[in-house]
Symmetry: C2
Subunit: 213 residues, 2 copies
């Protein structure tokens, strides 16, 4: 049975709760509460309770949550009980920096392939043990290496063409770093990470708080 | 007068509409509609109209929007009529890749300073004309260079300490790439860009659609 439609911001917060619980666990904390987690994250306790309520009852009123159990449950909900094979598509500065980001492997995301159009990059190592391959070979390699997630860091003008190839070879999800909308069928998940949009969201807030003076 | 409280997802979409209008303009398109924009972005036309309605009446029913005018208005709303001086705080792989991202300058964000703790990096050029400086000098340099936005790409364990320094020297906004929550007073805007959280949001969707089978 599919979980009822969960709002996107709730899903992101679940991942943030999971990160928060992992930190509590590392600090030897056994029990927590919606209030404690909310305070750590700068949000409201009622928000934490509402988000978790989509998935059933976790804590006991007045007793709170068992950190281990809730953490395990969130890990399961977020699909993190397995490791995920990831491909970097576009091995420029940003693609390389992401591939080498320590947080990926730690969280169960393993870079197993990288692709680029630039002949000079092909054959170079992007992370230990993974050499950059020609993008022409992408369909075959994605299929043969059980890669379910692609991180898209190609230039804008190549974004849709590469996306179409990824769709053809059965990718399940795309993390889109290109500053453009990409189109994929409904059964392929797309998450956009556009930090220029985030910067503009920041300047909106700064500009509108200035108008407040 | 301060604009009424606008939901965060609306603000992000305004930035996306602005990007979409810029593209239409580049393609020589004069007029558009909520339907056309929505189709280009894979959302609903009613969403576009609702988001824009926070800021008044833009289009005429049945006639649509003048691309130039709406684009200009959104540019103003998003605080993009001026350029913004930006500092990169933490000049590792990710910080360097972001500093060199072509989309920044094109969108009015100018990297004018970069800081790191690593003595070996100090003095190196991060982008043409900008050398990496000691993080000890950050407060003075931020003040003297009229820097309003900091992009935070330091390790997690340094995140809050550096944030506190940035607050002290009068930064207006922080784009937080560190995988942790940072605390700042209400008048300092913080936007988180955590792509591991985005990946987990992706694996949630993939895992829950599998359960659907």
């Amino acid at each position: 049975m599919r979980t009822p439609k969960i709002p996107k911001p709730t899903i992101r917060r679940l991942a943030i709760y999971y990160r928060c619980l992992t930190k509590l666990k590392d600090n030897g904390v056994d029990k927590t509460s919606s209030k404690e987690m909310a305070d750590l994250l700068g949000i409201k306790a009622s928000q934490v309770r509402k988000d978790l309520s989509y998935f059933g009852e976790f804590g006991k009123r007045g007793v709170g949550y068992n950190v281990d159990k809730l953490s395990f449950k969130l890990k399961e909900i977020l699909g993190l009980k397995k490791n995920w094979n990831v491909a970097i598509v576009g091995a420029g500065n940003l693609g390389s920096a992401i591939a080498n980001y320590a947080g990926l492997e730690k969280n169960g995301f393993k870079i197993v392939s990288a692709f680029d159009v630039d002949e000079k990059k092909v054959g170079q190592m992007i992370v230990p043990g993974v050499t950059i391959q020609k993008i022409d070979d992408i369909e075959e390699r994605i299929k043969n290496n059980n890669i379910e997630i692609a991180i898209l860091t190609v230039p804008v003008n190549a974004a849709q063409e590469v996306t179409d190839k990824l769709i053809n070879c059965g990718i399940k999800g795309i993390l889109n770093f290109t500053p453009t909308s990409i189109y994929a069928p409904e059964d392929i998940e797309v998450e956009d990470v556009d930090f220029v949009i985030s910067l503009k969201s920041l300047t909106f807030e700064i500009a509108s708080s200035k108008n407040d003076l």
